[in-house]
Assembly symmetry: D2
Homo-oligomer: 223 residues x 4
């Protein structure tokens, strides 16, 4: 305990959070962090990382990296390059960008070498356990059927969250568990934390909100 | 102990082990099993499973299944269909057919439901541990750089084998460890068993041998 | 003209058309061909090809092949192996099994070398034209949004069919055009032929019909 | 004719051309363009596009885009976002980042809508023709076996270049042909142009050169 809960905002490829609007959205998140003390992380599109990272103090995460390093890997996203652009971490294996098992491992290894933190997204308890064995900083359990549903995983399926936390604890004390899918309210965050997670991962709940800033205030309000 | 060591022969898409030649090769393996008591499993190409399974008594494994079941999945290989064709198990995630982490999990779940045994191929110790968390019957560690090299993993890198066995034992007693890459001699098999594995996975060592039958005899001779 | 229209029945991974039921379904199609003179092609699951091909005289096509030949390609489906199992052709790039552009080319080349006919599935007019440049025997235009919809492409979007036929004719006289998506009635087939296609590709319209044999009779009835 | 030849420099994920070094390398290319009048295009890693595009006047191309637009596509690279970051074009389907046929089509369509120019990389003549049917601005033929070989395609296999140019001309006058693989000298560029191409695509020949600036001068020297 005592540790600050984490709120990870995935900008996806939403037009509401691209380019200048990515910078603006990240600045809102920066303000919220300053005011609330809650740690907010933003995940802009990869070409936007540099701009966003140069505009805010909060951590900027990439939405994806490949399991490739320096070399002949045209079009691949390397840990080193996103870090050089200002990212301090990355999502890996998001449900919209699933990777080979061996690529996830390789991406985590490159990230560790570079100093990039990793959040591996997963879809159920065995996959969460498997991901935890690969040694990322975080796993984020997101039941695919709830993503973008508006129904928070912390209410719809508290067991999957609770059991993911327990499964990971059995394996290691070095991997923290986040949860995602359907999160949009402060209540959802509070519920997620009470189930033993270290925070939440969300996207449309903030980015597609009529008033993203108000949505952010609501999100951190119950912590 | 007391348990019979396992020798898994992967026919790949070698022309030496396709069609009628797959049946012939499988019959050799069947003979060896009868004579030696060593359990040999054959993995013919998927279109050959039916023919091979109808010609031998030893277990026939598929080279691959997808993480898909009955439904709108044109071209996918389902656990149910390979089992109906006569397979009793399958390789999953071979280095030449890597899968998404979530697909490996899904393929194992379909296999379990159908009664198909699974061997998940892996490339290093963390990936082996991750695969073991998904609950297959076997994991098979095969350092990619040694595959087809003629240099047996049991000699070139005994530590990766020994540590894979230890890593998996720490997780569960229900998953056995095989090793592969460069195996071609009875000595390699004996070394693999002495490192704690339940057997070996090989391909060219038998299929591409001048005399596959002699190669098989040599393989089982030191057990 | 004078040429017989073609009806390609994709068995997908439907349980209604797997294993023994694949053989039974193929036999229905065989009867229809004998009685009507319409050429029906069946596409069972890959592990079922051998069994089906040994039970019927009509052409059996694979649902997929990879762009790989003999060699170290574990789990891949080769032209040579499906032909050896009894297939005389194959679907390539079905909407449920999309391939890399370079793989489609490679698969067609392997198929040609082996003597396997190819039907490349496509989703729109430019992709149809691109596929035609690769020299398959057939392209099959299937607008993804209509697949499994019950709304026949020949009615919902006759223009895409007509223009696909024209686009392909402009390129070559060696590639015939099929259409698919939502086809289930003899009227749909007649409409498809009147738009200039050489036949249709369908799945659920027959396989999921209450009475597949009656559905087949209806299909060929208006030709 | 009269048109300026094009030299496209792919920065790959080489460490020599990442981050600040990407900016420096792009500035060299900018100077060369100013001095020689030859059009040089640079393709930095995707997270570097913004920085590079803000430092030079020459065109900056992305190394890759996905066939996805605004929406729920975490980790995907959209035409809109790379353009917003300063790119004016993109490679598509590089041999190190092959795409599905339908994705190439979709990526080109998104690029057209956004105003991004496209160079589709291809591996042989039929694939080049297929790619040309999809309506990019350029196709770039690169025989995979020559990539990074130091043996220029324009010498090793002039026929594949010449025939690619002819094949594309037969289809359309709107698509120009580039060639790549093994290009490093001004002679190679001159040979490529004499074979009917509009320019060349290269990477290590400049980036890995002891003196990249000198390599660039040599490249443009024979035009």
């Amino acid at each position: 305990m005592g540790k600050k809960p984490l709120i990870v905002i995935n900008f996806k490829t939403y037009s509401e959070s691209m380019g200048d609007r990515a910078v603006k959205m990240a600045k809102y998140c920066n303000e919220i962090t300053l005011e609330s003390g809650v740690e907010v992380i933003v995940c802009p599109q990869i070409p936007d990382i540099y701009r966003v990272a140069n505009s805010v103090k909060i951590p900027v995460f990439s939405q994806h990296i490949d399991g490739a390093g320096a070399g002949s890997h045209t079009g691949h996203i390397t840990a080193e390059c996103v870090m050089d652009a200002g990212a301090s971490g990355t999502l890996i294996n998001h449900s919209e960008k699933r990777l080979l098992l061996s690529e996830i491992d390789s991406a985590i290894q490159y990230a560790k070498k570079t100093g990039l933190k990793t959040i591996v997204c997963t879809n159920n308890i065995p996959v969460t356990s498997a991901a935890a064995m690969l040694g990322p900083e975080f796993v984020a359990i997101e039941p695919p059927e709830l993503i973008g549903s508006g129904i928070p995983v912390s209410k719809a399926d508290p067991d999957i969250v609770r059991e993911s936390v327990m499964a990971v604890k059995k394996i290691t004390s070095h991997v923290e568990v986040l949860c995602g899918a359907g999160i949009s309210k402060g209540d959802d965050v509070a519920a997620a934390l009470s189930l033993g997670t270290s925070g939440v991962l969300l996207a449309s709940g903030v980015i597609k909100a009529k008033d993203p800033k108000a949505a952010l205030y609501d999100l951190v309000g119950k912590i």
